[in-house]
Symmetry: C2
Subunit: 182 residues, 2 copies
């Protein structure tokens, strides 16, 4: 597990179709590649992670950042896990590490989006602690933000609270559950 | 001239094809839309700008951010100016304001990319002070980074130094042109 370097960019792009199970066909493939231009690995490496196996093969990655405009928010732009190592807790661990980094930097919530109809992704995010935000459309029983990323680019929007620092709760810090501490 | 709000996102997407003169045809259109998901207006609003005319019509925008992983670098992801108001200095002013904000936050260079073959964009960036970085391919006489954003997604890469703070130059700050000040 390490921070990505720029040279990881083509390696990450090369696994998207397989790891996403070809979701969305040719259009889905193009969409994924265009959503991950090199800038994400260049400029958000400090809050992103790649995971390799003992042989140096890429098996998972998370690309995320702290929002400069919304300091209370951290955002996970992409999370991918090789289908061959799913259900081993790698995705959960990457999210837990990101959550911890977000907490250290003062964020209060982590947000991310996925495509409507990507049942595996929606189930995964729900399982690891995200909740689906209300939407203005329902697709396969899931609330969706219509045209979120552009015409026809609907998204399921997730959020997850960042646990407050227990040491601060007693001081009545925002988000403390009790004025007298836990 | 103001900071963008999330509601500007569909307005910005709606002008891309016209302002880019349909560059790249249908594939170019899809590419531009996917390169500007809502997250850029949500999370980088503090370093981005939209410009409206007296009637509230969008006439220009710049989306940029300071690189968290490379604190010496600021990055302009998108700059658009309505063809009807080109050559009036709006693009130059948006870049100048971004450069100034980057300088205040300690950045030493501004970077951006454009598509090979987009002669208007390449000429504009050169005119306002960017230089083309060396590449590994030449397209229409311009150095290009092959596969920069993915297979087939070549890019012309630009950079521009951020002028150092004159007050610091005398102190021998990095980038000072003279140890005794300007």
């Amino acid at each position: 597990m390490r921070r990505p370097v720029e040279e990881d960019h083509p390696r990450v792009l090369a696994v998207l179709d397989e790891w996403w199970g070809g979701f969305g066909g040719a259009a889905g493939s193009r969409e994924r590649a265009l959503l991950l231009p090199r800038l994400f690995l260049e400029h958000f490496a400090d809050t992103s992670t790649v995971v390799e196996d003992a042989g140096g093969r890429l098996v998972a990655f998370l690309v995320g950042f702290l929002s400069p405009a919304r300091p209370a928010t951290a955002y996970v732009h992409f999370l991918g896990v090789d289908q061959a190592v799913r259900r081993a807790g790698l995705g959960r661990e990457l999210h837990a590490r990101f959550l911890s980094a977000a907490a250290q930097r003062g964020a209060r919530e982590v947000r991310c989006v996925t495509s409507p109809g990507n049942a595996a992704s929606i189930a995964f995010h729900t399982r690891v602690g995200f909740r689906v935000e209300p939407g203005d459309l329902v697709v396969d029983g899931v609330p969706v933000h219509a045209d979120h990323d552009g015409p026809g680019l609907h998204r399921v929007v997730f959020s997850r609270p960042v646990p407050g620092d227990p040491a601060l709760r007693g001081a009545g810090a925002p988000g403390g559950r009790s004025p007298s501490g836990p």
